[in-house]
């Protein structure tokens, strides 16, 4: 059983559309991170959230940490082909290692 679930598993959309992907758990995390991974590369950190209810924006990307610190969402506005990749969430409980979700594979078609 996955400690972190991500949905949807796959998402294919047209350029310019908006989308939201989700990261859910029954566990409480002290922090949660979102990474993007492109083929043949390692994951690259997008954001770290640590406070329940926290919202962070990174250009067209909006990240939210749930009030109970068990879930998170990533919203992309006006998706572009460059947003294509595997989006991974990772949660950590204090003093423990990060646990990664299985990822959402996003494809943005021009």
């Amino acid at each position: 059983t996955q400690l972190l679930e991500q949905s949807p598993q796959f998402l294919s959309i047209q350029e310019g559309e908006n989308l939201t992907v989700y990261c859910n758990s029954s566990s409480v995390f002290s922090s949660l991170q979102w990474y993007r991974q492109e083929p043949g590369e390692g994951p690259v950190l997008l954001v770290t959230v640590v406070t329940g209810g926290e919202v962070k924006k990174l250009k067209r990307l909006t990240f939210q940490f749930g009030d109970a610190r068990k879930d998170s969402s990533l919203h992309i506005t006006a998706a572009q082909p460059g947003d294509t990749g595997l989006y991974l969430c990772a949660g950590a409980r204090w003093g423990q290692n990060f646990v990664f979700g299985p990822g959402t594979r996003l494809s943005v078609l021009p």
Binding site: Q2, L4, Q6, S30, S31, G40, E41, G42, P43, V44, L45, T48, V50, L88, A90, A92, R93, W94, G95, Q96, N97, F98, V99, F100, G101, P102, G103, R105
Partner: protein
Amino acid sequence: GAGVSQSPSNKVTEKGKDVELRCDPISGHTALYWYRQSLGQGLEFLIYFQGNSAPDKSGLPSDRFSAERTGGSVSTLTIQRTQQEDSAVYLCASTPGGGRATDTQYFGPGTRLTVL
């Protein structure tokens, strides 16, 4: 500056052979992680090194897996008597501090291991 590097980028081996995978972390980073990523899956934690502390080996799947970190820098992951289920991408990451819950992990490009 230079990022995390890993070698080889690809490794094909026969079942039963031993393999060594190398990771060169970012200079000055005190913590180093190894992960395994199977096709289409997330990252599975293998082992964590922090400074001179005893490594956290809790993620190693069997005693065929071992890792060393020499001089607080370069790390080698060794898989003995490889099995087909060991086929995966092995990723290394380093972080500047030991604060696991908030540090940014900088990943290398990975080594793709194929066991025939």
